[in-house]
Amino acid sequence: MTSNTPPDSDPYTAFREELRQFAEQHCPPELKAIVRSNQKVTRNEYRIWQEKLFARGWGAPNWPVEHGGTGWDLQQRYLFEEITAQADCPPQYHHGLGHIGPVIMHFGTEAQKARFLPRILDGSEWWCQGYSEPGAGSDLASLKTSAVRDGDDYVVNGQKVWTSHAQEADMMYTLVRTSSEGRKQAGISLLLIPMSTPGIEVRPIPTIDHWHHVNEVFLHEVRVPCANLVGTEGEGWKCAKFLLDRERLSPSTVPRLARLADQVAELLRARRGSNEASPSQHVLLERLYLAQAGVMGAREMLLSAIQEEMQGTLAASKSSALKLFCSELSQQLIGIAFDIAGPQYAARLVATVTDDAGDTELQRELVHTYLFYRSRTIAGGTSEVQKNVIARDLFGA
């Protein structure tokens, strides 16, 4: 009766300390201040941190060693995310490391691996994701942006929308239609398109959070070398699904939620003052406790999902459940913050005339974040789509 006994001592003590010291010494204070105050993190901050990690050999905790990964086990990967989140280091930029990198490793040519992977690793090249279109949101496979073969190039025409980071990206991995025959999924291909190619226009979409996050991307007669096709023509849907499955398993999600829960707890403590026993304080406290418990459960859900993914036994319902749960939990947490900060700061979201240009007031950023987080249950598959995916697994049909 010993199988259910926890390990006696923590074999990761030295590793934790190493991470703590690195986060302490190598993440610039101005970066931490941005993360701590919940301001939007842009390419510049992501890049600075990625360069530091790369220099230390920690550029890609989730990649295999042969491509420059760390070779860490699951526990180490999680500790890395946990400790860097606690120290207010920025997260790593996900589109390269988490999304297209693994796709290129799995489906790409040797030339593509050699051309693209090193620049993701050192943070010198920036990626965005050309997926959604005006007529293809949840029903992504009905996308219409076309790629027609012309000599050694594809000629791409169409429009992408909700493209995050397009304004600061060098490359866009793009789902295009190379055939209208057969099932709509079968005619889709994945192209790697340099954003500097003539014929690409990026227009920002003004969003409710007042942050510049998403864009429309127009593609007019854009010539892309055939060498930039990932996998074979018509294999794009397979790549996209491979990518989406990984997108839902980002190990940084839960530690970032834990950090947000800590911040909300701090906010609640600051609010309390003389009103310790007020009914409103109790209502907020119970919501906070339930969210903290949720973070605890989510951590275990994530670790077991990553474990199953590494063993190749992960069911779609598990990664979807994780995405569904964490996105809703992030909204619950930021909802508490909004209830605290809202009355004063919702009306002061954007400073139009101000004597303090460097104002980074936490509460105001929390209102931005509250509004931004509405997208958590929409992007990467809406909660309703996740529920359909999970139900298919649960009901076996």
């Binding site: 009766m1 010993t2 199988s3 259910n4 006994t5 926890p6 707890a265 609640l268 403590r269 309390r272 109790h282 406290l285 119970e286 406790y289 339930l290 903290q292 418990a293 949720g294 605890m296 459960g297 989510a298 951590r299 275990e300 859900m301 077991s304 319902s317 598990k318 459940a321 569904l324 749960f325 309703e384 529920k387 359909n388 999970i390 139900a391 697994d393 649960l394 009901f395 076996g396 049909a397």
Partner: protein
């Protein structure tokens, strides 16, 4: 393949308990004079000894092993006092084992010769005690003693004249018979025992003052966590049975499982289940490793589990429609069981108050 819940702590203990529990009949009368066949099997299997240290004749196993038993029992809504007698009592007496009375009793319950009913959730003020020379005199009432299966001893908290708490041990036959007996919503059988001027030897006192809170606090956390494991078992089984029912039942010419509104409600049950399952599994290991440092997390988990048990129980009844109201339906009994688990060893408000009182926010 439709959903099938996977155990948090798989192994022999889980499998054996599941097999015995599956064959257990449902009883709905107060008949705590003789042990049921199912309980006798558990005693013979040594389930009371699992958590008792080897030095006291037990198996010296881990909380994960008891959690395996609790989860399996929960899948069949077993109304037996498994958590109380196989987890809470060993956890409580184990802390007091330097006292001969506690050590002796641990040995007896590990051997299956004794079964100790803990009454730790009642208001201590309901039982008053005063020391007179070599004896302690009791007046008051032991409220809510779980006698679904017979007990040889009670362990309970009384209040002395100075207002201090006293943890006491009494043989069952040293106290009078039941004043009132009850059948609970989940078929558990409890009794109130009225006591007037009963004299017990002073050796019955196991702890006084702050030592009572320390010992009972940890035992209570073990109870809260194990009853949560039981609820996880019940919730998993409820989801399976609800899915089966929706697949089998046809209305409007199609299976209910084809309606998106119903499917999405099941998904909500499932996602909540995965979360509490992960929480409880992780905490069972943490409580074993970190002891009382993990008590705050246990309260967080029980608070959350109470909400989830309620949500899943109510959804399971609703999704079964009319038949969900029938006591003959296993899913309905599971719903009652999960609700009951959510209330035992500290309900939602108990844990909320405790979190707010010793909060990290201070």
């Amino acid at each position: 393949m439709p959903f099938h819940a996977s155990p948090m702590f798989p192994g022999d203990l889980y499998d054996t308990t599941l097999r015995v529990a599956a064959a257990a009949p449902v009883t709905e009368t107060f008949q705590a004079q003789e042990p049921s066949g199912t309980w006798s099997q558990f005693l013979a299997l040594g389930w009371q000894a699992v958590l008792v240290a080897e030095a006291h004749g037990g198996a010296g196993a881990s909380l994960g092993d008891v959690a395996a038993i609790a989860e399996a029992a929960g899948r069949h809504a077993l109304a037996m006092p498994l958590v109380a007698r196989c987890a809470v009592v060993p956890a409580l007496l184990g802390q007091l084992a330097r006292q001969p009375a506690a050590a002796e009793l641990l040995r007896a319950l590990a051997a299956g010769d004794a079964s100790v009913c803990p009454v730790l959730e009642a208001d201590p003020a309901a039982m008053r005690c005063r020391t007179e020379g070599e004896v302690v005199v009791l007046d008051g009432c032991l409220q809510g003693a779980d006698l679904t299966e017979p007990a040889t001893h009670f362990v309970f908290v009384a209040r002395d004249q100075a207002g201090g708490d006293v943890l006491m041990l009494a043989r069952r036959d040293a106290l009078p018979g039941c004043a009132l007996t009850w059948l609970g919503a989940d078929a558990r059988q409890t009794a109130d025992i009225a006591v007037a001027g009963v004299e017990l030897p002073a050796a019955c006192v196991l702890a006084r003052g702050d030592a009572v809170q320390a010992a009972v606090g940890y035992a209570q956390a073990v109870g809260a966590l194990m009853v949560s494991a039981q609820a996880v078992g019940a919730i998993g089984a409820m989801i399976e049975q609800t899915i089966d029912y929706l697949g089998a039942r046809e209305q409007f010419g199609v299976a209910l499982a084809t309606f998106q509104a119903l499917r999405h409600r099941v998904v909500e049950m499932y996602v909540a289940y995965e979360n509490v399952r992960g929480m409880v599994r992780q905490l069972v290991l943490a409580l074993e490793a970190r002891g009382i440092e993990a008590l705050r997390d246990v309260s967080l988990a029980k608070l959350c589990l109470s909400a989830t048990a309620r949500q899943v129980a109510e959804s399971a009844i609703q999704l079964h429609g009319g038949i969900g109201m029938s006591r003959e339906l296993p899913a309905a009994r599971l719903a009652m069981h999960a609700l009951s688990c959510s209330l035992q060893w500290g309900d939602r408000f108990f844990h909320l108050d405790r979190l707010a009182a010793d909060s990290v926010l201070h």
